[in-house]
Amino acid sequence: MAETIFKPKRKSGPIKFATIGAWSIALLFFLPVAWIFSTAFKPKDSIVVSPPVFIFRPTLDNITEALSFDNTFDYFTHSIVYSFGSVIIAILVSYLAAYSFSRYKPAGTDFLMFLLLSTRFVPAAAFVVPYFQLFNLLKLKDTYIGLIAFYAMFSIPFSVWILKGFLDGISQRFDETGLVYGASRWHIMFKVILPQVKPGLVASFVFNILFVWNEFLFNFQLGGARTFGIPVGLFTGSTKGGAIDWAYVASIGTLYVLPLIIVIYAFQKYLLVGLTFGTVRGEV
């Protein structure tokens, strides 16, 4: 009789169990989002009822009503301007900083990198008042410039960290070959190296846009009628009538997550690589 060389094939049972488990947990996490989505399309009289209604005739009434408020459109414009504005500026600045850290290695690079991130250690509540005073003093309160500068400053440290990891993985021989070919440093930075760290740029873009898009406290304190974004609008709008207007919350909430879903879905392929923080090294 032939000896058994290989272990018997594993039954597929446990794997199926894992799949089911993963899906149940993921769906559980998704429930609040699903609730918001479904509420947005529910007729007003079936939103706050007990027991909850799962089957209903979907309607766009809530969304059209929410959109009909004067300032809904403004909130969206403000959010888009300061979020995208600040994150794009932050990534540009971070790329330049990360390139310098990675290539020129100034004395104490590691410590500088640590210092950079340390600005994120302090809880936001601790410096919201000083910032409020500062913004008043500099007349930056309720301006796009003020908010964009603030959010860019907040986004830069993390982006520098991500991008430096990616840049360290790109051999300096690319830079040197460029120099040998007579290219300028700018050409090397933006035409030779930048295309190779696209996943890093996308990862920092997505992480930062998630943060800024959702940020409430500083927008509330440093912004004003001309710059309030959706989170503030949602907060103030939801309690306008004395009770919480769930239809409004759900409608705005649904519209609010759409841009993020589009961004993440569009960049998913880069994001998966981006999450490894450039740990795949090119050079031996």
Binding site: E176, L179, V180, Y181, G182
Partner: protein, 354 residues
């Protein structure tokens, strides 16, 4: 074309002196190999020629022009690195073409240059392929081809085939040899691999601890090493060195249990410390020879080309001899050896050849 002149060039990194006061000329239109063990300063020296490092002191000239502080991008050089630099997401042709695009060549000239290097480097069949699909050896060929197609006056190679797997390595070495034969440029090639140096060089500059210890043609440097280091570093196995206790000096005459003749070194005899002999400089016979020294065979191994490498013990001294296939095959426990005077190089206490 230019020669490259280095005048008292020194490079320090903090306390470490990588290149120590080198004055040296790399002749134009020839292949100069900077050879030496890791950390001897050869790559640093080349990077100063490229302008990627600035000398701590000293000057670099291309022909009559001093370039010490001229930035790399204005030096009109080509450089191939140990790590193959290729542009992903493009074809092989595009890779070869990219640096040429800024030179405003006519379409015909561009195609001619690319087809030419592709042919020499055997890349013609892959020109349309994407670079990601190719192995490291081919990628390095692309990097080499790209430099050649640009036709700079000087091309620098920094250990270009060190990271390539063995089969591609041999092929790449052959292509390089052929390429170098056709090029008119001044070529500097850095390596720690002596067989590469012996194959490719018109002249070898041997480096140790930041200085060039000897520079000569490969044959000259192999046959007449000017130091123990050169004797040991070149050759596989390196030179056999015979310590002082096996050497007897009386006046100008030198004798040793390893050879039967008496060698007259004149006034130099008094400074003899050791002598060296290459493995193939030892003649071996299986039958007793009248002017032979008896040796015990401790190990026998067959090498490239069917030659045998014998580990021999003469008394307590161990030496290596390379012999023809037939002698090696017939060698039993005991053989007779002798060393002709012209195969012996004497060294003083400092390791300098006499």
């Amino acid at each position: 074309m230019y020669d490259i002149r280095l005048e008292n060039v020194t490079k320090k990194f903090g306390d470490f002196t990588a290149v120590d006061d080198i004055t040296f000329t790399i002749p134009k239109s020839s292949v100069t190999v900077l050879l030496g063990p890791s950390g001897c300063g050869k790559t640093t020296l080349m990077r100063m020629v490229a302008g990627l490092e600035t000398p701590t002191s000293g000057k670099v000239f291309f022909g009559e022009h001093e370039v010490t502080n001229v930035p790399t991008k204005r030096r009109n050089i080509g450089m191939v690195f140990q790590y193959p630099v290729i542009y992903r997401g493009t074809s092989v042709r595009k890779n070869l073409e990219l640096p040429l695009l800024s030179e405003k060549l006519s379409k015909a000239e561009l195609d001619k240059r690319i087809d030419e290097v592709a042919e020499i480097l055997d890349l013609t069949s892959v020109l349309k392929r994407q670079v990601e699909e190719l192995d490291n050896g081919t990628r390095q060929k692309i990097a080499v081809g790209r430099e050649v197609a640009r036709q700079p006056r000087i091309i620098l190679f920094d250990e270009p085939i060190t990271n390539i797997d063995l089969t591609s390595k041999l092929e790449l070495k052959r292509s390089m040899k052929e390429l170098f034969g056709r090029l008119q440029q001044t070529i500097v090639y850095v390596t720690h691999d002596q067989t590469e140096a012996m194959t490719l060089a018109d002249q070898i500059a041997l480096m140790q601890d930041g200085v060039i210890t000897q520079s000569d043609s490969p044959k000259e440097i192999y046959e007449k090493p000017n130091s123990q280091f050169a004797g040991w570093f070149l050759g596989n196995p390196g030179m056999n060195f015979v310590p002082p206790e096996f050497i007897k000096v009386s006046g100008s005459k030198i004798t040793s249990p390893l050879f039967t003749q008496t060698i007259d070194l004149g006034s130099k005899a008094s400074s003899v410390d050791t002598f060296g002999v290459r493995a193939e400089g030892i003649s071996v016979t299986s039958s007793q020879a009248k002017d032979g020294v008896q040796a015990r065979v401790t190990r026998k191994s067959i090498g490239a080309g069917g030659q045998y490498l014998l580990d021999l013990a003469v008394g307590s001294l161990l030496i290596k001899a390379r012999v023809s296939h037939s002698i090696g095959r017939d060698a039993k426990d005991s053989v007779w050896t002798n060393i002709a005077s012209e195969n012996i190089t004497f060294f003083d206490k400092a390791g300098k050849a006499l």
